[in-house]
Symmetry: C2
Subunit: 329 residues, 2 copies
């Protein structure tokens, strides 16, 4: 970058002093000259100083694990919209196959000078995964909010859907219908919300033999539920709607009808779940309220307010549709 000022000055036909003033936003330069200098800077391939790029860089990182499950795009829309109203722009980062790790995204977001970061259903949810990058955020004092999981050691504010209540609701619903042999399809073993649902399931007397862990996808649900169906469950509670749809498919593949032979309960109430066959009974996460809480917590931190590193628990809501019914007598 030797002789940057000299080169630009020569190109524009002004003195180095003038170029220097433009680059530092100093007064005493006409608009026309300022514009000419900046243009020459771009033409010559130099980078403009940050403050001249307009300081609209009010960016917030939004880190999601995937986009397949419709709950994540839906959540991104809620949070993105609420942030936009506060004058922030959200940058959506998704881990994809063969893609970028969460730690990489944290590096990236730090480099981009984001004002804050929101993690939803990310690695942090997996208790066994590396947490080094969270500590990095903590050191840098970057405003952060975690959604639907807990990292106990770190002091981040958290927003979650109450998994205990969710599991109780689902279990209570199918038991009230008369089911006794009830299966549970969960995400990976180190996924905290799944772990919490499992604990509640067992505390409420659910059969630990009828619990399956799998990946969060329709196919994963299919495989896990197939095992449960073979063991004669009459109801299956799932940790996501996609798992529930996989469960419906597994039951049908086994020649059973839903809800005639097997009742299925989902979790999330993501979009279109009232258009499915059968319309899915599910436990709704209040993502609107949660999203707004996330943004409030984040903006408060950005405004230097002291935010307690508590976990805000939101009450889910049971949405009864047509995938659950009384068991066959």
């Amino acid at each position: 970058m030797t002789r940057r000022l000299a080169e630009v000055a020569k190109k524009v036909g002004v003195s180095e002093a003038t170029v220097s003033r433009v680059l530092n936003g100093k007064p005493g330069v006409s608009d026309a000259t300022r514009e000419a200098v900046l243009t020459a800077l771009d033409v010559l391939g130099y980078e403009r100083p940050t403050q001249l790029r307009g300081d609209r860089a009010r960016l917030v990182g939004l880190v999601l694990p995937e986009l397949q499950n419709p709950i994540f795009p839906a959540f991104a829309e809620v949070v993105g919209g609420a942030l936009a109203q506060q004058g922030f722009t959200s940058v959506l980062c998704t881990r994809t196959v063969g893609g970028v790790s969460e730690a990489d995204y944290v590096d990236l977001l730090l480099q981009q000078q984001v004002s804050g970061v929101v993690f939803a259903g990310g690695l942090y949810a997996q208790a066994d995964a590396s947490h080094g990058h969270y500590e990095l955020l903590h050191e840098r004092k970057l405003p952060t909010v975690l959604v639907n999981a807990a990292v106990e050691r770190l002091d981040f504010p958290q927003v979650s859907c109450d998994d205990v209540v969710a599991a109780e609701m689902a279990l209570g619903h199918v038991r009230a219908l008369g089911h006794e042999r009830i299966g549970l399809v969960l995400g990976p073993k180190d996924h905290v919300p799944s772990r919490r649902k499992l604990e509640t399931f067992q505390a409420e007397g659910g059969d630990p033999e009828l619990v399956e862990h799998t990946m969060f996808s329709l196919e994963g649900g299919h495989a896990a539920a197939a095992r449960l169906v073979r063991r004669g469950v009459t109801a299956v509670i799932c940790a996501s709607d996609l798992l529930a749809l996989g469960t419906v498919r597994a039951a049908r593949r086994a020649g059973l009808s839903v809800p005639g032979d097997v009742s299925v309960v989902g979790f999330d109430d993501s979009a279109l779940m009232n258009c499915t066959e059968p319309p899915l009974t599910t436990v709704r996460q209040p993502i609107d309220a949660m999203g707004r809480a996330v943004v409030d917590l984040l903006v408060a931190q950005i405004d230097k307010a002291v935010v307690p590193a508590d976990e805000l628990l939101f009450e889910p809501e049971l949405v009864v549709r047509a995938s659950t019914a009384r068991p066959r007598a």
Copy 2:
């Protein structure tokens, strides 16, 4: 920023020379010292030079209009995954209610020094909207690919699903079943893919009286289809799966069955459309192939290759499920 080097040097306990070397990425500094200097820089609130932020800033902007329609998150996953394999990180930008405009996103992405931009179903699709920001991209010679629309005046490479073939397939399918009174539910009037479908519909002898424009949402489809149903159509072709689901709902609200009384054809074949009631007959966009083509075109541009500003047309595929049938005699 007076005495930056001196201040940092004093804090770390080294000479200004060493700090200078670190800031310029020069060799001859131990890793420990380098780290200490960078940490001090952060602590003192100075900004790291761009090249030290890891030159992994191989960012690509991915601008989508919304995330409600599952086709957009799906597309984002395909493109994001393919980009990740090439070592790029995608930044997903979504316009949301009360949110950021496409022009704002372009500014933002330029500021973040992205390597390229992909627009899908964005403003550019709307022929009447402002295109100033596309010209800006063109001036800066920033690699850009447009998906599913045309901006004739600008020389951007484009990747699209062939709307002519899509409309012919859908129309041919319902006509082969014996339908004659066929409605068409499209997006906004200035949405280019909708416009192309309309032209094909008319060229193939479709009735212009049975065409409705609406917003791209389930509710929009419901409202538009309700008007068509009142006019006695026996089949409805829709410009997206969400519109099709809205159409199914409108038909049922009118006391008609699908496909018994009304056949419905969607467009996109987004996820879960085989789980709906009824499973939706739809025209599949080959988003995998399209996504890979987008990435190829973009990476070629980034690698300074000359890419023709053509429109690559991808053939859609008719997926017949259970929302279409012969009309009642």
